[in-house]
């Protein structure tokens, strides 16, 4: 009935065939909360970015933390952006080109208003694809000075 912009598929049929421009959303098989999955995908859908939900079946990946799982998801996404929900409910957003240990966004398992945080992560994963400022960044006001090494081209 719902004509969703997203495709929900098992990992088997999605790996082959045409690579659609999707954000990959990995989740641990033990993940109880479909609410959490729904919140993340709602964020992605509202932004109009296609996504694919995949259950992590590989036993080696089962012990991964959300950060590493998100990196794995990103590396499988043609858009290079992945989201992961780990068994404990923690979540992370990462792009394929970044260090697996340092996710762009992550949230702990037990936070208040967890669902709205997860929804926001969905939005932000989509916004990374779209090249828009992140929703979570809107809260950081005022000047933030980052001293960084710069290489001019």
């Amino acid at each position: 009935m719902p004509r969703e912009a997203a495709v929900t598929s098992t990992s088997a049929d999605s790996r082959g065939g045409a690579r659609r421009p999707v954000v990959v959303l990995y989740h641990h098989p033990d993940l109880r909360s479909t609410q959490a999955l729904r919140a993340v995908s709602a964020g992605l859908e509202e932004e109009g970015v296609l996504y694919e939900i995949r259950e992590m079946a590989d036993p080696r990946a089962l012990v991964m933390r959300a950060a590493e799982l998100a990196h794995l998801a990103a590396s499988e996404s043609p858009l290079g952006v992945g989201v992961a929900l780990a068994a404990d409910g923690s979540a992370a957003v990462q792009t394929a080109k970044m260090d697996p240990g340092f996710p762009i966004l992550q949230t702990q398992a037990r936070t208040e208003d967890r669902l709205s945080t997860l929804r926001e992560m969905g939005h932000d994963a989509a916004r990374i694809v779209k090249g828009l400022p992140l929703k979570s960044a809107a809260k950081t006001t005022g000047p933030i000075n980052h001293l960084l090494h710069r290489k001019d081209m």
Binding site: A42, E45, K97, I144, M153
Partner: protein
């Protein structure tokens, strides 16, 4: 051999330069230093800053205070300036008639017209009625979509929806028949129910067509000519939006109120003139030119401009310790501007661009405290202090140490509060003028036009080029070049417009794109510095003719700016002037001109 120090106390910085004068009169400069000015310039509060800068300078010059024979200070320009900005229009919505905001992701496409109905009352609507559904935040998006689908199947003509949460696409994707949906309406409970309304969402890349057109709204709501006139304010406020909602209430009213801005009275040599502030900046400046030189300016009491000038006067009286009736405003610079302000009575934090006038005013201060300052400095340093000369004369002398210059030469000193011009003619005479408006006004304009409300950030935007963070590893500068970073950039500045400061990237808190921010920055500089450069030079030029000036050396803190000098040079080239940023002593850039001039004047005096 004597060691002398020239010290220039400016509005915001105190500069010094140490020089050794040999017995044969040859001068060797040992470099300069600068420190923030302590207190209002020309007052005994400056002692701290002066002592600091002298210490610093002697350290770098490897000299001791006991070596110093003489400290020269300038007769500080007896002007200080103040700023005021006031909106002269105001948009007020009474009984909420419009919601015109740009949520990032409205849903559906098209125009829907119907009566507003609460979501939970949708089942009670009769088949055939045309409705716009109002969905509050406690309704889940799937439930909202299901409810609308059920109603539609029953024959209710659901034309559109307004949603409190960011759910527009989620609902639109689940509907059997797509409808336009506007979301993120924060104050949704204020939407009047059972009123006729219209919802419009434009396709991606377009802006709305019907609700931004007065006659479009008139057609939808069957308005007569008088009602259309009122509603034209709504239409105007919605121009350029991707989505909008208009609700028509029986007594609904939107006002685009013009606040009584009042008139400004300019009294000068040639008489008095009254100008209405709403006539705009160019009228005020034209009137000012007619009465110049200005003796005083005042505003009509009880009006915006009256308040503005009274505030400037109060600040000046506080700073100088003079009686406020004694404070005379000797120059004003009026600049037209606009300020994004939240619409009173709006429902989603809508902003309207209100017209505003910014005024920089300059007052002359008493010259008295200078002696007191010299006295205090002598006590603090135990060195002979001499008031070496008038600031403008000194600036010219210092400016003339720039390689490639000759008289007749003008210097333009671009400061924080005032823009000063001085002209040195071939016979050695110096004419000078101070006009209101400089760097501080530029910062204020950038701050208010971009709606930043943070002067520190506005200052960073003023001083530095912009860039857009394009990925976690690279940024694109405003000129199109790309810079890469070794470590990933923080998520908080991803895809944002940032200012490229010495301390890193400072995000600009705005939704505007980089071109818009750049345009606001450059326009602010043009309206203050380019306008003031011409205005000031006209007043010192022989017979007011700019073509009779050969060289213009740009000095002062704002001359260090990466684009202001170029903008001025471009404008002055039209008058055949050679204009450029000063390079005092061939090494100090546009800084330290007055301090250098003090030493140069001293040497001229000993040589006789």
């Amino acid at each position: 051999m004597t060691v002398v120090i020239g010290v220039d106390i400016g509005n915001s910085t105190t500069e010094a330069c140490v020089a050794v004068i040999q017995d044969d009169g040859k001068v060797e400069f040992l470099g300069g230093a600068l420190a923030p000015t302590s207190g209002v310039k020309g007052t005994p509060d400056n002692v701290k800053g002066v002592v600091e800068v002298i210490r610093q300078n002697l350290r770098t010059a490897c000299r001791d205070l006991t070596d110093v024979g003489l400290v020269l200070i300038n007769e500080a320009t007896p002007v200080i300036s103040g700023l005021a900005m006031e909106t002269i229009t105001e948009t007020i919505i009474t009984e909420s008639t419009m919601i015109g905001h740009n949520p990032d992701t409205p849903g559906g496409v098209g125009l829907g017209v119907g009566t507003t109905v609460r979501f939970r009352e949708l089942p009670e609507c009769a088949a055939g009625t045309r409705v716009v559904c109002v969905v509050t935040s406690e309704v889940d998006f799937a439930d909202a979509a299901a409810g609308i689908n059920i109603a539609t199947r029953r024959g209710v003509d659901v034309q559109g929806a307004v949603v409190q949460r960011d759910d527009a696409n989620l609902i639109a994707n689940r509907l059997d028949h797509p409808i336009p949906i506007v979301d993120e309406i924060t104050l949704i409970e204020k939407i009047p129910i059972n009123m006729s309304s219209a919802v419009e969402v434009a396709p991606p890349g377009h802006s709305i067509r019907t609700l931004s057109n007065s006659f479009g709204i008139a057609t939808i709501f069957n308005l007569d000519a008088d009602q259309t006139r009122i509603v034209s304010y709504v239409a105007r406020a919605l121009v350029g939006n991707r989505s909008a909602v208009v609700v028509r209430t029986p007594h609904g009213d939107i006002e685009d109120r013009v606040i009584p801005a009042g008139t400004i009275e300019l009294s000068g040599d040639t008489g008095k003139l009254h100008v209405g502030i709403d006539a705009g900046a160019s009228e005020i400046m034209a009137a000012l030119r007619r009465v110049q030189p200005l003796h005083d300016a005042s505003g009509e009491p009880g009006t915006q401009v009256g308040g503005m000038l009274a505030r400037v006067r109060d600040t000046m009286a506080d700073l100088t310790g003079e009686d406020r009736v004694e404070v005379r405003i000797r120059d004003v610079l009026a600049v037209d501007t606009f300020v994004p302000q939240e619409v009173k009575g709006g429902l989603a934090g809508e902003f309207a661009l209100e017209n505003a006038v910014a005024l920089a005013a300059m007052v002359r201060t008493n010259k008295g405290p200078m002696r007191a300052l010299a006295q205090r400095l002598t006590e603090a340093l135990d060195v002979e202090i001499r008031i070496g000369g008038v600031e403008a004369d000194m600036a010219v002398l210092g400016g003339l140490t720039t390689p490639g210059t000759d008289r007749p030469m003008a210097v333009l000193d671009l400061g924080g509060g005032s823009t000063d011009a001085a002209l040195a003619t071939r016979d050695g005479k110096v004419r000078s003028v101070h006009v209101a408006g400089a760097g501080d006004l530029v910062t204020k304009l950038i701050d208010s036009e971009l709606g930043i409300d943070n002067l520190e950030v506005a200052e960073e935007i003023k001083k530095h080029p912009l860039a857009k963070v394009e990925s976690f590893f690279h940024i694109r500068l405003e000129d199109g070049t790309v810079s890469f970073y070794d470590s990933p950039l923080p998520a908080s500045i991803y895809a944002r417009v940032v200012a490229l400061t010495e301390n890193g990237l400072v995000p600009v808190p705005t939704r505007h794109n980089i071109e818009k921010v750049r345009q606001v920055r450059r326009e602010a500089k043009r309206r203050v510095f380019v306008v003031n450069a011409v205005r000031a030079l006209e007043q010192v030029a022989p017979q007011g003719n700019l073509r009779l000036i050969d060289f213009v050396v740009v000095l002062g803190g704002s001359a260090l700016d990466f684009e202001i000098s170029d903008m001025i040079a471009e404008e002055l080239a039209k008058y055949g002037m050679v204009c450029g940023t000063g390079n005092v002593r061939g090494q100090a850039g546009p800084r330290s001109a007055v301090a250098t001039g003090l030493v140069a004047a001293h040497v001229q005096r000993i040589r006789g």
